[in-house]
Amino acid sequence: MAPLKRSLELGLILCRICGDAVYRSNLGPSRRCPRCHSRIEHRTPFSTEMTLAWLLAGMVLYIPANLLPVMHTSGLLGEADSTILGGIVEFWRAGDWDIALLIFIASVAVPFTKFIAIGLLLFTVRANSQWEQHQRATLYRVVEFIGYWSMLDVIVVALTSALMQFQVLGTAEPRAGIAFFCAVVVVTMLSALSFDARLIWDRHA
């Protein structure tokens, strides 16, 4: 199969918002899409830089998200702060290995996958690599897809806190850790969003 023509060679720029292919010569000085009037660039400017910034922010936030307790439960039998990892261990020990696995995937495996995947994408783009371009494109779509599943943990804490309010008998309150975790999810999603997947296909000879 002959190599496809690149948009630059054709003098075309794709609007990422409305999907209109615009000839560069048709762009005014404001560089707006003639159809939807959103800003239009050949490649999102500072894409890698922003992705990296968001990624780093996510990684930094992931540390307190795991160290700080996400939930505080108190009841007749005492009170306890639980962290994400502590909760997983507790569920596993209690025999609920399925729940433990679910939480593990949602709150540990997925964020890590995202960190590694985005990091890999960034590295390869910066290195101008042509390695496994199709797989990297798939990887990017997977990262985008799994991003919000990490919100599972946040929803669990939110539901528990809302439902478990029995005063003396037992109450659950969210703790700072869950806010950090929520921030991790949001920031990594932003990171994935700011990554311009078209860069995968660019190469500078």
């Binding site: 500072f46 830089e49 910034a53 996510g58 307190p64 306890a80 660019d202």
Partner: protein, 552 residues
């Protein structure tokens, strides 16, 4: 890269207008920087709040849970248990706890830790809240200047975890008696403190630590005497029955009372920090000090059942010491088993007598004292067991002058001094009774009984004869008597002829007697009538005159 130069575009757009806005997307770096700052600040705050990690060893870790059990100081949480492991030798449980940073200053070398569990004691119920919440570790800071991180936990809570101000006083006692920790301390029937500790010292005696609360600790002076106020003190004295007790709680849980010692008392504590002595009773506490005891030994040639260690030794009725030991000895010479009684005597208890002796220098040394005792023995001083109570049979040793006792030898060089003895008065009485019983026993009772039996049989025969022979005739006699009495009765009846004639006779006799009296009367007034006869004139007519005339 997006600005890849193409010859035609560079000519059309010589100055791209977007350049001046390029800094804006770089603002995104604020996010990771902010995240890093927040993270670092959290870490710093966490590090700032992280106090010391301490290790406490307990004998058992009952109820202590990692992450759940809290460490509390004055009921405020200052940390939590972060680990429970067995010690390397498996003898203790090592509880590690993370304390908050501000609790670090509480960790002194003598800081105490204990596990708070529900406790129900004589005086109080404590730790009930732990029934639901689980145990927690209590903490009491120490006074030491040095800080520490490893502690040995107490197995029971200290009685004054964060108590009121006051003073702790160590009391020294031979035995603690029925005192319990928490027992009240009284000053003139007013509770001013509590017993907070009891220790058995290496010499076997007891140290009781009491805590006297703040304004009242001023009552504790060097001359203060402490005594055990446990139980009820019932005394039957010459002045009647005296029942003494500090309070009902003291009766149940024991207690300690204190008061100023007698005015002339020698201070029992060297300073306010010194140890006081805990006396057994108020009387003992208030007694003047005994001074050093002197030991004496006495050899009794009789059984001394009822003589126990602690029995009093009295000198002319004054208690001057007590029996220390009662031992069985053996004398080879006559194969006898004398009872050896060791006693300690307090010469100071002799009061003025002791002072007088001291003034003469008799008490300067053991030698002079022994010499003096020798002269007393020559005057008849003997030790004698006597019965203190006929009910209980308890004996005491009396030192008394018995000049009638057989002479005794006294060796002034023997240590301890050996006092000559005589047998007890009660024992003498006993021996007399035994002799009497023996005499009674020796009486020919059987012979007497035989004789008595024979006599009784004779008596029986006599009685039989009486019954068979005398009684029937007696019955006959009685019936004859009855007949006689019947006829007598008839004779004496009012209607009987005898009775009637008797009545008549009597009335005639009365008339006669009247006439005789008139005659006598007349003759009295007219004696001459005997010669001249009756002169009928001049005389008032008396009704009896004709009669009296007729008679002469």
């Amino acid at each position: 890269m997006s600005e890849a130069p193409t010859p035609e575009s560079s000519r059309e757009l010589p100055t791209p207008a977007v350049r001046n806005r390029r800094w804006l997307p770089r603002l995104v770096w604020v996010v990771p920087i902010a995240a890093a700052v927040i993270g670092i600040s959290l870490l710093v705050r966490n590090w700032e709040n992280t106090g010391p990690r301490i290790s406490i060893s307990f004998l058992n870790g009952e109820g202590v849970q990692v992450g759940k059990t809290l460490v509390k100081y004055r009921d405020v949480t200052v940390g939590h248990v972060s680990g429970v492991v067995l010690s390397a030798d498996h003898q203790t449980v090592l509880v590690s706890a993370d304390l908050s940073k501000d609790a670090a200053s509480l960790l002194k070398a003598d800081t105490q830790f204990w596990v708070v569990r529900p406790r129900i004691g004589m005086g109080s119920v404590s730790g009930l809240e732990t029934l639901l919440s689980g145990v927690y570790i209590g903490m009491k800071t120490g006074a030491s200047g040095a800080s520490a991180r490893k502690f040995v936990g107490l197995e029971s809570p200290p009685p004054l975890s964060h108590g009121p101000r006051g003073r702790e006083l160590p009391l020294h006692a031979a035995r603690a008696g029925s005192l319990a920790i928490g027992a009240p301390v009284y000053f003139r029937q007013f509770q001013v403190g509590r017993v907070i500790d009891e220790n058995l010292l290496s010499d076997g005696s007891t140290r009781v630590t009491v805590f006297v609360e703040a304004p009242y600790d001023g009552f504790v002076k060097p001359v203060t005497r402490f005594w055990s106020a446990s139980g009820v003190n019932i005394r039957l004295g010459a002045d009647g029955l005296i029942v003494q007790t500090e309070s009902l709680a003291a009766v149940l849980a024991g207690g300690i009372a204190f008061d100023d010692g007698p005015a002339e008392a020698i201070p029992t504590a060297t300073g306010i920090s010194g140890e006081f002595t805990l006396y057994k009773s108020e009387a003992e506490a208030m007694a003047p000090p005994d001074g050093d005891p002197h030991y004496v030994r006495m050899r009794f040639a009789q059984a001394l059942r009822g003589l126990e260690a602690g029995a009093p030794v009295e000198f002319v009725g004054v208690n001057i010491g007590s029996v220390v030991a009662v031992d069985l000895g053996y004398r080879h010479r006559d194969r006898s088993f004398p009872v050896i009684v060791t006693a300690k005597l307090y010469p100071r208890r002799m009061g003025q007598a002791y002072e007088a002796l001291a003034a003469q220098g008799k008490t300067e040394s053991e030698e002079t004292l022994a010499e003096f005792v020798g002269t007393l023995v020559n005057r008849g001083l003997r030790a004698q067991p006597r019965s203190g109570s006929l009910l209980t049979g308890k004996l005491y040793i009396a030192l008394d002058f018995l000049p009638a006792s057989p002479p005794a030898t006294f060796d002034a060089s023997v240590r301890p001094l050996e006092l000559p003895t005589v047998n007890g008065a009660y024992q003498e009485l006993e021996a007399n009774i035994v002799r009497m019983v023996k005499k009674v026993n020796d009486l020919p009772l059987e012979q007497i009984a035989t004789h008595l039996d024979t006599d009784l049989r004779d008596l029986h025969g006599t009685l039989n004869a009486l019954h068979n022979r005398v009684l029937p005739s007696a019955v006959d006699t009685l019936s004859a008597l009855h007949t006689t009495l019947d006829s007598a009765d008839r004779t004496l009846d009012v209607e009987s002829p005898l009775q009637r004639s008797l009545t008549e006779t009597l009335s005639e006799t009365r008339s006669t007697l009247q006439a005789v009296r008139e005659l006598a009367d007349y003759l009295d007034r007219h004696p001459d009538a005997l010669l001249h006869g009756r002169r009928p004139q001049k005389m008032p007519k008396s009704p009896a005159a004709p009669l009296s005339d007729a008679k002469p």
